[in-house]
């Protein structure tokens, strides 16, 4: 079976020709929680990113006269790719969980399997706004507690209570630098997403 073109000298990481179906999920959470680390742990290509410039919608977009004062801000969206079966490829997009990035979020979340919300036990309070945002998008989500060595360890039940998690929302504890635990987090999310999908139609 042919895979990556032999002309891939620049290490671009072209898609294998068998890769037919591409799915995506969002990895989100507060600043510095380990989103990029988890994506890097799992990605088979070097982690890529796009810089998305967001322009503040000032005094009317149609204002063709004087330029309204404009503020721009740049958001880096990083992403990686994981081939799960020959023909099935999963993309993981790391997206900041702040409300002001909502328009960008909507673009990335559209058609996504769900979101992995990463949490740092030293800053549990920062996670609520992110979970609210994900819920507003109607995305199924799982919580991944990224364990930092200097962070206090808590049993799942305590964390669930502090995060006020719905009983159906999965919570996993992982180390974003480790592959196995990171894959477990994806599995928890995929299992949860499955419970939210309607039963398959019989092929007609």
């Amino acid at each position: 079976m042919d895979s990556v073109p032999s002309t891939d000298r620049g290490g671009v990481g072209y898609l294998p020709s068998a890769a037919e179906t591409l799915m995506k999920l969002v990895v989100t959470g507060p600043f510095g929680v380990g989103k990029t680390t988890l994506i890097r742990t799992l990605s088979e290509i070097e982690t890529l990113h796009t810089e998305e410039t967001m322009t503040q919608a000032g005094a009317g977009l149609d204002d063709t006269a004087g330029l309204p004062e404009k503020t721009t801000t740049t958001v880096a969206v990083d992403f990686g790719r994981l081939t799960v079966q020959d023909d099935l490829v999963l993309y993981m997009f790391g997206t900041p969980g702040q409300e002001r990035f909502l328009p960008l979020w909507e673009d990335i979340a559209r058609g996504a399997l769900g979101a992995l919300v990463m949490v740092d036990t030293r800053r549990l309070g920062d996670s609520f706004a992110v979970m609210d945002l994900v819920e507003e998008q109607g995305l199924p989500y799982a919580v991944a507690v990224n364990r930092f060595p200097d962070a206090p360890a808590h049993p799942d039940e305590v964390l669930r209570k502090h995060l006020d998690l719905d009983p159906g929302t999965p919570l996993v504890q992982c180390d974003a630098r480790e592959r196995r635990g990171s894959i477990d987090a994806l599995i928890a999310l995929a299992e949860h997403a499955l419970t939210r999908l309607p039963a398959s139609q019989e092929p007609s």
């Binding site: 898609l15 796009t50 919608a57 799960v84 999963l90 993309y91 058609g111 399997l113 994806l186 599995i187």
Partner: protein
């Protein structure tokens, strides 16, 4: 970086003006772009040309092209849409038949993820 509370932000490529939105549904960011066997006309813009050169050895999604070319994803959607319309690129939707995620896909995803353990 923080534009202040309560201000609505919109992606810059939507307000650059002077560029009408391509007709038809926008390309998905995960659409797979494939270079066709057609020469680019001499007047082709530099960015269109870079996109076609990037895709000469193999296929990539729109968002991967954006990252390699250092362009915003939205701008790359526009470039790719033009090049698909002119026949220099082909685009394949990310989920070919069903068009959206269904149970059988997620079940296959789970089998795949478990096998990666």
């Amino acid at each position: 970086m923080n534009p202040g509370p309560g201000r609505r932000l919109i992606p810059a490529y939507l307000v650059t003006g002077g560029r009408s939105a391509p007709s038809g549904p926008a390309l998905d960011r995960l659409a797979v772009l494939i270079r066709t066997d057609t020469d680019l006309p001499t007047g082709t813009g530099a960015e269109q040309r870079r996109l076609c050169e990037l895709l000469a050895p193999g296929a990539l999604t729109v968002v991967e092209c954006a990252a390699h070319l250092d362009l915003p994803a939205g701008a790359t959607v526009f470039l790719a849409t033009d090049l698909v319309a002119s026949g220099h690129l082909r685009a394949r939707p990310p989920i070919p038949r069903a068009g959206e995620i269904d149970r059988s896909l997620v079940e296959r995803l789970l089998v795949g993820l478990r096998s990666l353990h």
